[in-house]
Symmetry: C2
Subunit: 413 residues, 2 copies
Amino acid sequence: MALDAADLGPATSLTCRECGESYDLGPRYACEQCFGPLEIAYDFTGVTRASIEAGPRNIWRYRGLLPVPTNVQDTPNTEPGFTRLVRADHLAESLGMQRLWVKDDSGNPTHSFKDRVVAVALAAARELGFKVLACPSTGNLANAVAAAAARAGIRSAVFVPSNLEQQKIVTTAVYGGTFVTVRGNYDDVNRLASEIAGEQDDWAFVNVNVRPYYAEGSKTLGYEIAEQLGWRLPDQIVVPVASGSQLTKIDKAFGELIKLGLVEDKPYRVFGAQATGCSPVAAAFKAGHEVVRPVKPDTIAKSLAIGNPADGPYVLDVVRRTGGAVEDVTDAEVVEGIRLLAGTEGIFGETAGGVTVACLRKLVSSGALDPDAETVIINSGDGLKTLDAVAPVARPSAEIAPSLEDFRASGLA
Amino acid sequence: MALDAADLGPATSLTCRECGESYDLGPRYACEQCFGPLEIAYDFTGVTRASIEAGPRNIWRYRGLLPVPTNVQDTPNTEPGFTRLVRADHLAESLGMQRLWVKDDSGNPTHSFKDRVVAVALAAARELGFKVLACPSTGNLANAVAAAAARAGIRSAVFVPSNLEQQKIVTTAVYGGTFVTVRGNYDDVNRLASEIAGEQDDWAFVNVNVRPYYAEGSKTLGYEIAEQLGWRLPDQIVVPVASGSQLTKIDKAFGELIKLGLVEDKPYRVFGAQATGCSPVAAAFKAGHEVVRPVKPDTIAKSLAIGNPADGPYVLDVVRRTGGAVEDVTDAEVVEGIRLLAGTEGIFGETAGGVTVACLRKLVSSGALDPDAETVIINSGDGLKTLDAVAPVARPSAEIAPSLEDFRASGLA
């Protein structure tokens, strides 16, 4: 593909996160020397609070910090981001905390943070000459890719395990792209996607062959939190860990803001949250290991169920460097976390949100997290997509006949 | 209840929409003379574009035009509104139109426009001394009331028919309020709610005894559309019709903006959209009647399935006065409307959104709506809540084994 005309904004090159080898910008994702993951390097110029605040109310206000073209907001896209940062006084009170915020990413166009990463991947993929937006997925990513491609007027090709829940199938198929169910588990689908990427030159698998660009989209969570706090970093942040990329990119965003002088340089602590049924990073953290041993996932928190998280070691680095921790909670605690967030703040989070709230509670209880320091937690998706998780316990108070007598007798008056 | 301390902002009194009788502000909803519906009257002062633009990015930027206290945004609430107004060039192209926008209210906290009306009802109910936020509902309203009460830290009491879909039960029960299923249809539930409202002095049934306040929340859709177009009214707008209140309040909002000099006074045409299986207002419009004959609803568009719409005659007034029309479409056309909006713009709307898109298409085909004039349509809810409607047709392209050979053989490469 011809890259001469590509406008990737402030991005300058790709650098191996392991050996430091540098590459020209292009559709690469692994180091040719050591197979390490490639990361975008930048030359930021002219980014100020004012230039950001003058931008649109979505992730493109940070375009000067992303590998996307200067005019990215002029091409039809789903315009994700700038979701609510909700002051959560009732939840804080119930946990004995002082200042707590929920970054509620269920407000994105397809109701998960995946809209952010997909929007950045799509913008970069166009510049790199790709014609089809593709992914292997188990749910949220499938929704986000199919919607973003429809909005952009290009073809999507989404691959999912054939045993996926009916609701996730409908919510992807409705957008009308190419949608293939694969008889196998997610690992099988993922491997097939890599093989197809090797054959189909103009297919951008967002989380495979354009992953370095895609992953940068998570930085916008960090930028937004800082800006919405009034250009200030929180003292503590709790982030759900699947591949681990969301956590490391939020840390990267905070670091960039400090370096650019857009926020005061101050210490902050980063905490990771996992479900016990898929907690390889928490296990490594607790054991003091530097490597993450893969596990076979078994949890209701399916959007976090990555048994071999690509960024696991980097999560450990960030958490240890900042004085945080990685915690994990049982599925029963996840359900309680969902109900606690809904009941105190009126926010119905996905299972991943339940993991984060439950880990927050556990971290406060254990003393690992300071209840008096300002804390932000991420709700990365919407409870409407994981209804089965709470269905057994989210039940009516009573069933009555349509009469005042029956209502009085119910004791609910 | 003592109303001396009540701050209802610019609201001055309640006026009967039928006979013009005037009442002091309070928890009233029907005229004592003629049983007509009561409407809020105002004295607007000091509302300018600048004062609005200086407000928060939610419906409270219009607090100077609503029956809510001056400091409404300081009390915990779900902060709905200021949802996206999406330029829909692909949808326009497919319909042969020039300038089309989708006001996407699925971006509200519980993913429907009901968050707007509930937030206004809650704010007024607090001022009027109510202690419990209640409603009869079949879905979206139940979600919105339960979430808003949880966020506000007060009790909710929601009543629904016991045959409600499991997903709507879960999405209400998760917030932890009082949640009663009633063995009967929606009319039975509604009647029971009115009876309970007569007994429970401090229960505010948002759509019953505080309905005049509640209904005003829909005005914010009109304000936002005008502001998001750059303080300008569209030439045409298509609005789904259930009770009819959303349509009449958008018209009221446009009229207020003109009167206050916030937008240029220019003609605009208002169109109503119904599902044929519950189209009493469309039937009356087409027959040239001034009264609306109740029907027994039979449509997949359940959030619009009000067989005896309270504001039906007022919808006819608005539509006829502005040169619009009321159209209706079959359930099959509703499903096609949902797919068309998803496939062209990446927006997965509720069945009500499908009704609106399909009616738009029909209105363009018939020549009733001018394809060259700037048009706004409302997507009032989220497709995730009405998956069953599209499940039979939103299917995968193919199912394959996890092998390149199978993928190649699928013909999808």
